[in-house]
């Protein structure tokens, strides 16, 4: 695609994405306000003592005494300036909280995603090439098993096996605290903590990608242009790489893009099981604490991530598949 077309494409996607994100923010704002309980009563509960004056103070402080539409308007207009407000419970800027937690989530979901997609494509390809053989059956069964197992349960079982019984890997957290590690040792340390959560989160998606790759490969392998390649005398290995795989990956990429949001959802469970300090856990805590600003901030953040991921996927797709420009 030429640069101008590319720029147009990206610009268009971003414009559309901004609208989607805005709509999501409004929806969530409305939804969460429907929920019972307000932050003032939660904080009153937490502090162990409260009187009406204290509650009143809190409500005024959070702007909860204004009419709902006004609160929404203030919130939305701030978001446009990327000001997500202050967390009631943590009394810190939501943006700061997110910024602290985001890298951990990105690391976790990123690692899980890379693991899932690379292994998924590898296994899917293997199964498709050996269709009908034992290897295919084993991979299919494995994928099905991963697909049918609850994420959090896998996490627990992995902890049971690798941390409790074998004591190979740490079961929780992101770093060994107090170890005072420096340089490369820090990376190794984080890596060791990352293995189990990333594996847990990744297995489910690995299953999806493997199945999808397999199906897609088999479908593409049936198409005319593969026959053309054979008729040209192209060796099987090259047919697989240059013709079948490249085409077969298109639906996998599309699907991976759509799945990005589910990955973040899954990270809530995984972050809970493994005490991973990311935004998934932050979201859940915020929800239970009725920390509106923080929760909306997390929603905003995850939505932006999903939308951004979709844009990247679209872009990638457009780069791989020349037809996309015309289709759009």
């Amino acid at each position: 695609m030429e640069p101008a077309a590319l720029a147009r494409f990206v610009f268009g996607r971003i414009a559309k994405a901004a609208l989607v994100v805005l709509a999501i923010v409004v929806l969530n704002f409305v939804l969460i306000r429907l929920a019972p309980g307000d932050p003032a009563s939660v904080i009153a509960g937490q502090s162990g003592a409260a009187d009406p004056q204290f509650m009143e103070q809190l409500r005024r402080q959070f702007g909860l005494d204004r009419p709902l539409p006004e609160q929404l308007w203030i919130y939305v207009s701030r978001i446009v300036m990327l000001d997500l407000g202050v967390s009631h419970r943590q009394q810190r800027a939501v943006v700061d909280l997110l910024a602290e937690r985001l890298p951990a989530t990105l690391l976790l979901t990123g690692a899980a995603f890379v693991f899932a997609i690379s292994m998924g494509i590898l296994l899917g390809t293997l199964a498709a090439r050996r269709v009908g053989t034992l290897a295919d059956t084993l991979i299919t069964i494995l994928a099905l098993a991963c697909y049918a197992t609850p994420l959090f349960w896998v996490g627990l079982m992995l902890v049971l096996l690798f941390s409790v019984l074998l004591d190979w890997l740490p079961a929780f957290g992101m770093t060994s605290v107090g170890a005072n590690l420096t340089g490369f040792a820090v990376i190794v340390d984080i890596g060791r903590h990352l293995v189990l959560p990333a594996l847990t989160l990744g297995l489910f998606y690995l299953a999806i990608y493997a199945r999808l790759t397999r199906a897609s490969m088999l479908e593409v392998a049936d198409q005319d242009f593969v026959k053309t390649a054979r008729a040209k005398g192209v060796p099987e290995g090259r047919i697989l790489r240059a013709h079948v795989l490249r085409n077969a990956l298109l639906p996998v990429i599309t699907f991976a893009g759509i799945q990005a949001g589910q990955l973040i959802g899954g990270s809530i469970l995984v972050e809970t099981v493994f005490a991973w300090p990311g935004i998934g856990r932050l979201a859940f805590d915020a929800l239970l604490a009725r920390d509106y600003n923080l929760l909306l901030g997390v929603f905003f953040c995850t939505s932006v991530m999903v939308v951004a991921f979709n844009i990247v996927t679209d872009l990638l797709y457009a780069l791989i598949d020349p037809r996309i420009e015309v289709a759009s």
Binding site: A35, P36, G37, D38, P39, S41, V42, A44, G45, Q46, S47, G48, A49, A50, D51, P52, Q53, F54, M55, Q61, S87, R89, Q90, Q91, R92, L97, E100, R101, A104, L156, V159, S163, V164, D167, A171, F172, G173, M174, T175, S176, V177, G178, T272, V273, F274, A275, P277, G278, R281, L282, D285, L287, L288, A289, R290, D291
Partner: protein, 538 residues
């Protein structure tokens, strides 16, 4: 006032670490050996403990939840600390006197005390902390401190406080967890809640704030200029944030942390740790809080307004089952409205024991007959959203009440909705547990007196009203001498066990589990919510 209850923080479960407190009282004057220590303290070493949930901020007053207190009690200090019998001990106050009429308190402060930023600590800081800071921020302090008519600093090491009329429990308000002393030079004239300095707390305690990785850990380091010679012994304290209970158990088991407290460890795991020879399981250290749990009854809902019905429910409960099966023997069965650790507890006033047959008979007598499904009454039960054990407790109660034909429908809510519905009296039955702050006037009265029926959590939300009870609490509150108070409170306790205004269940005890190499960990009535200045590795 209420102080406390658990910490609801909005989070679930174990939050309550809340109050916990001070273990070894501040570094105060006592040498470590005074309390429990048997060896010679040595310098050096690191303590890793768990903080859950992660506190929002570490400045006392701005937040008074359990996790905040557990960490801030190392950074800040109060004027006093309390031993296991809740007797005041010196902390920032070297000594104190009370005038014979009980209205003038004089505190003499330690000398050469420095803030973590190097500025000297003076009586002005105390006057500011009590007179302004906590008066503005803390409802609990506000309720007590409004009795103060004058607070002054005649010289840099003396503070005098005059109160309107004698108030015997006044001295229970000067622990770090109740009234931590904060630096006037940082806060005076600012918006306390939003002061940027809240991110880096400055106190006089033995440990100073170093680093906070959100969602990960908080790191405190030894304060070299601490006023008490030789202390603290430890070099660092790390608070690890571990939201999952299973993970916390693993961390303790694997030695990655050396101390857990409050609800860090689920009750069912406690027996396991009791069997590990390298760990000590300590249930002392909650005397100051005296957490008592009960079935919160809304008296406005029939038939809950009927004392016979409440008694029947109370007798349908096998409290020993709860103690042994849910809390695995950690804690005590409740005997009445006062925790046995609370001052003026009367062991002779006891509620009726487990007797489902008599309970059923009571209901029959009321005319509540079982219907076709065997149900006499249907009630809604609001789950206490603070952790699994409370969920299990709800499940047990449903089965226990089913035996006598009372059917509970469970409602599951988050902490916010729970707090709101209690505050708005929008419930039938729920679970509650409340700290007693060592004194019935401070921590018990609020639940039962009719003057405190308010639409605010942790007041008399159940709407119980009995003029006799009101009068007895009044007598207990205003009596100058402890003996007079005892008389009033004994009479009161006998009355309450007959009335069953709430259905008391358990005196909760939260085990502090720690590596036996650490010495002098729990040295007073506030448990781990103390300075840890005298903790050392033996």
């Amino acid at each position: 006032m209420a102080p406390n209850r658990r910490s609801p923080a909005g989070l679930r479960r174990r939050d309550f670490l809340a109050a916990a407190g001070a273990t070894l009282a501040a570094p105060a004057v006592l040498g470590p050996g005074d309390a429990l220590g048997q060896g010679t303290p040595r310098r050096g070493g690191t303590l890793n403990m768990i903080l859950n949930p992660e506190p929002p901020v570490l400045v006392l007053g701005v937040n008074n939840q359990g996790p905040t207190l557990a960490a801030a009690s190392k950074i800040y200090e109060g004027l006093l600390r309390y031993d296991f019998q809740l007797r005041p001990q010196p902390a920032l106050a070297k000594s104190w006197t009370v005038s014979p009429d009980g209205t003038l308190y004089t505190f003499n402060l330690q000398e050469n005390v420095k803030w973590h930023d190097g500025r000297p600590f003076t009586a002005d800081d105390v006057v500011f902390s009590i007179g302004k800071f906590h008066m503005e921020l803390s409802p609990r302090s506000r309720a007590i401190f409004q009795r103060i008519t004058e607070i002054a600093a005649p010289n840099p090491t003396t503070v005098t406080i005059k109160i309107r009329e004698a108030f015997e429990p006044f001295l229970l308000m000067f622990d770090v967890t109740a009234t931590g002393i904060v630096p006037k030079h940082v806060y005076d004239g600012t918006d306390f809640r939003n002061n940027p300095a809240n991110a880096t707390p400055i106190g006089t305690g033995p440990f100073k704030f170093n680093e906070w990785r959100r969602g990960n850990y908080i790191h405190l380091t030894r304060f070299a200029d601490y006023w008490k010679p030789g202390q603290p012994y430890l070099d660092d304290i790390y608070y690890r944030i571990i939201p999952d209970s299973a993970s916390r158990g693993l961390a303790l088991q694997s030695g990655q942390v050396q101390l857990t407290q409050s609800n860090d460890i689920e009750p069912f795991d406690v027996p396991r740790f009791q069997q590990m020879p390298n760990l000590a399981v300590e249930t002392k250290g909650w005397e100051y809080y005296g957490p008592l749990s009960w079935i919160e009854v809304n008296h406005r809902v029939q038939p809950l307004g009927d004392v016979r019905f409440r008694r029947a429910l109370s007798m349908a409960i096998d409290r020993n089952f709860i103690l042994n099966r849910l809390w695995f023997g950690v804690g005590k069965v409740a005997t009445g409205a006062f925790s046995s650790a609370t001052r003026f507890h009367d062991p002779n006033a006891r509620i009726a024991g487990y007797n489902p047959r008599e309970a059923a008979a009571l209901l029959d007598a009321m005319g509540l007959r079982p219907d076709a499904q065997g149900v006499r009454a249907r009630l809604k039960f609001l789950h206490l959203p603070y952790g699994e054990v409370w969920t299990r407790l709800g499940e047990y109660l449903r089965q226990a009440f089913a035996q006598i034909g009372v059917q509970l429908t469970m409602e599951s809510v988050d902490a916010g909705a729970w707090a709101r519905r209690l505050a708005e009296w929008d419930y039938e039955l729920s679970i509650n547990f409340v700290y007693q702050w060592g004194d019935p006037t401070l921590g018990v009265e609020r639940t039962y007196v009719s003057s405190n029926i308010q639409r605010v959590t942790f007041t008399n939300t159940g709407g119980y009203s009995n003029p006799q009870v009101d009068a007895l609490f009044e007598r207990g509150r205003t009596a100058v001498r402890a003996e007079d108070r005892q008389t009033a409170f004994s009479e009161l306790q006998r009355l309450l066990v007959a009335e069953v205004p709430q259905i008391w269940l358990m005196e909760l005890a939260f085990p502090t589990i720690y590596d036996r190499r650490y010495k002098d960990v729990i040295v007073g009535g506030t448990g781990v919510q103390a300075s840890f200045g005298d903790v050392y590795i033996g």
